[in-house]
């Protein structure tokens, strides 16, 4: 299933695809993707809705560690292949647009 491409989404997918097995918490992902922090949560919720991501609470003893537990996000198998397709399609679209806009040098008739 494809979703509408946007620059923040593609940056987010790019980060997630660098190591699909890695788990990230929201702020970490936002920093890595260079996305303005608040905007990442609708994107993450959307990807979760599509089944591209799963999320789970960190299993820690909050008193021992001295901080609240975080929600970690990880790509699903389905998400990895779908995200790769999405990124590839976006790259192909960008290439097509660039080709269309390339100036042609020649003599004016």
């Amino acid at each position: 299933m494809a979703i509408k491409n946007s620059a923040p989404l593609l940056r987010l997918l790019d980060v997630l695809l660098q190591d699909p097995t890695k788990e990230y918490f929201g702020l970490e992902l936002a920093d890595a993707a260079g996305i303005h922090t608040g905007t990442i949560y609708p994107q993450l919720a959307r990807l979760e809705q599509l089944g591209w991501l799963t999320s789970a609470w960190e299993e820690i003893n909050e008193r021992e560690i001295g901080r609240r537990r975080r929600r970690y996000y990880r790509m699903t198998g389905e998400g990895v292949s779908a995200a790769r397709d999405q990124v590839a399609r976006a790259a192909a679209d960008a290439e097509r647009r660039n080709r269309r806009l390339r100036p042609v040098i020649g003599r004016a008739s």
């Binding site: 299933m1 918490f25 929201g26 702020l27 303005h36 922090t37 608040g38 905007t39 949560y41 609708p42 919720a45 959307r46 979760e48 809705q49 799963t54 999320s55 789970a56 609470w57 901080r67 609240r68 537990r69 975080r70 929600r71 389905e78």
Partner: protein
């Protein structure tokens, strides 16, 4: 005197940014649907914790700013969750005398497959809901006698599958007959299916169904059976697509001029 006062104000402001940021997060959480508030409050406060000063304030402000957008996504998610029942993902260990017709994922805590879960049976023989073991509603307001230990199944099969079918419609108006043909094909295989949406565009009608998961073989049989219906162009289930069939070449009838 003035620089001293301004310095004092700056220090006070810096000290109160944490409180202000938490206030903004609370306001953002209030705009979310009720069942999602606890999760995002906890998630956002955990992410606010390592931040301080203006960065924390900016982050909390941006969260508040995008909360309405998140609300839209979450409302869409819950509508979809209602469509796709996750019965087969839950393995119930209930008494042999207890049968459950339908299991739903509780909206109050929305457990994921990695959360430890408990099933609350509202009424034997009808509906049960899956809660996280640490669900506040479960702990505080639901009778413990009706709570049962449950586990996610290892295979995690989906309970339902989306199946979409499309065909050329010519002339327009044959759509209902076509849907009846599809329903007949499902009935013939003993598969329970529910029509989610049907639409027509450029003489192509598309119908989408939610099918209770009957097993891989029956889904294959259903796809084959639907592909056998006249005029069917494509039948799809998530993750796979059936190729468009080759149309049999029609034998040409006798030339009218031969008569």
């Amino acid at each position: 005197m003035l620089p001293l006062f301004l310095g004092y104000v700056a220090i006070e402001l810096h000290a109160s940014t944490g409180i202000l940021a938490r206030l903004l997060v609370s306001l953002a959480v209030r705009t979310l649907p009720g069942r999602n508030r606890a999760r995002y409050r906890e998630e956002w406060l955990a992410e606010l914790e390592p931040q301080s000063g203006a960065a924390a304030l900016l982050w909390a402000g941006s969260v508040l700013f995008t909360a309405p957008k998140l609300t839209v996504v979450l409302r869409r998610t819950s509508a979809k969750a209602a469509d796709v029942d996750q019965v087969a993902k839950v393995q119930l260990r209930l008494g042999a005398d207890l049968t459950i017709d339908r299991v739903v994922i509780a909206y109050c805590c929305a457990p994921t497959t990695r959360d430890p879960i408990v099933v609350y049976v509202a009424k034997a023989g009808t509906k049960a809901s899956v809660h996280r073991r640490d669900c506040v509603q479960l702990l505080l307001s639901l009778p413990q006698a009706r709570q049962y230990e449950a586990f996610w199944s290892a295979h995690g099969l989906p309970a339902t599958v989306r199946l979409s079918a499309s065909r050329e419609v010519s002339p327009l108006g044959t759509g209902i007959a076509w849907l009846e043909e599809i329903a007949g094909a499902f009935r013939g295989l003993g598969i329970s299916a529910r029509l989610v949406r049907a639409n027509g565009r450029s003489n192509v009608a598309t119908a989408e169904f939610i099918v209770e998961w009957p097993g891989e073989r029956l889904i294959d049989a259903a796809v084959d059976s639907l592909m056998g219906l006249p005029g069917m162009r494509r039948v799809q289930t998530p993750g796979r697509a059936t190729p468009r069939p080759q149309r049999p070449k029609q034998a040409r009838g006798p030339d009218p001029g031969d008569r």
